[in-house]
């Protein structure tokens, strides 16, 4: 531990080195580093779903949270949104202003009103607070997000897209998104897969990154939507 431990991404590269490599030996000998790598592995490829975890509900509600946040904020990723003013000298000066002696009676009155409101309204009698305002409520089995399978390349240059069937769906809308992930084509099918021949795929260069998304329908109404999967055009 006397030598500084490498960064995590450096540790991951050390794994492929020969066993007698000095830095590789550090990975083996240092409990901090070998456990950092093991924990990262368990993050990337979680094998065990602990009792009490509800992955389907989590995926659906986190997807909803993301969609709502996107609608609400639509940040320009190149110029990130300021999440709040930086705390600095000016900020503390402003705080001192609000805490000046002339404001203290007003603060005292506000505190009395606040305590009175809490006693009268008794929020602790109202059940658990809503902790995930952006997320949807826990849902039943029919509301789980559709899970996409890995696309399979077919002989002849086509692709088979498939997904987990929705128990209440009578049709699925499949959208193919272009290299910039704008919609290029749309198909509706009744089963939980779609085969597209080479000529049916959008006219994009071979190797282009395409996106795809599936929506489960019943009598034309949306039941559930997948996240956006990605594929590479054959």
């Amino acid at each position: 531990m006397s030598a500084p431990c490498p960064e995590l991404h450096e540790l991951l590269e050390l794994e492929s080195r020969a066993a007698d490599d000095e830095r590789r030996r550090h990975l083996d000998d240092c409990p901090r580093c070998r456990n950092r790598v093991a924990l990262y592995a368990s993050f990337v490829e979680p094998v065990i779903v602990p009792a009490g975890a509800d992955v389907a509900d989590a995926e659906r509600r986190l997807a909803e949270a993301f969609e709502r946040a996107w609608r609400a904020e639509s940040p320009d990723p190149v110029a990130p949104r300021e999440t709040g003013p930086a705390r600095g000298a000016g900020d503390s000066a402003a705080r001192r202003g609000w805490w000046a002696p002339s404001w203290r009676p007003a603060w005292a009155l506000a505190a009395v009103l606040l305590v009175g409101s809490i006693v009268l309204l008794r929020p602790w009698d109202r059940g658990p607070p809503e902790t995930g305002a952006l997320r949807g409520a826990p849902g039943g089995a029919g509301q789980d997000a559709l899970r996409l399978e890995v696309p399979v390349r077919l002989d002849g240059g086509g692709l088979r897209l498939s997904w987990a069937a929705h128990p209440e769906a009578d049709a699925y809308e499949v959208r193919i998104l272009g290299p910039d992930l704008a919609e290029l084509m749309r198909r509706e099918v009744t089963g939980a897969s779609l085969e597209l021949g080479r000529d049916e795929l959008p006219a994009t260069p071979a190797g282009a990154v395409l996106g795809w998304k599936v929506t489960a329908l019943r009598a034309g109404a949306r039941l559930a939507t997948s996240t956006t999967g990605t594929l590479r055009r054959p």
């Binding site: 991951l12 979680p46 990130p80």
Partner: protein
Amino acid sequence: MRLNPSPEGVADEELVRLVQAGGKGLGAEAAADALFGRYRRRVYLWCFRYVHDHERALDLAQDVLLNAWRGLARFDGRVPFACWLYAIARNRCYSAMRPTSLIRDDGADPDALAGGIDPEERFEEAEEEASMMGLVTGTLDRIEQDAIYLRCWERLSVDEITRQLGIPGVSGARGVLQTARRKLRAAMGRRAQESRA
């Protein structure tokens, strides 16, 4: 170890570039959805292992994913995206957890509950705990080192350490941690005697 867990062969970094280049609009949203959709399950399960509660894990996972999305402009590609997101998830879970002392652990040691440990033996400051790593590696066998590290530095629960390390037996990591702490206390006692002499 896969540096870039991209099941469909499209690297995370390609999607990051699409999000960063796309600004507002369907393309950027779809790319972000694809990118973070890959990690929702992973981030949620990572958070769950710390809090063992579905709703709390969802709160943490939502924080992690939205903060990562909002901070994507700062991602410069020097490390794999998965490492970057993992660091955010890890730090968020750390901040949600109370630190656990290296020497005393009320959640794992029955004798700690009885108050039988001299308070002077507590090592509550993180910097002091970091200096203990030499003692850990010099005193404990490998499985004990790992268990102590995961408990005191990574703040995992005893059950989670049992799973992470695959420790068999009824007591699992609890027994390993108790043994490790006994050894550490003895080693610290020897060290103190040597310094007095």
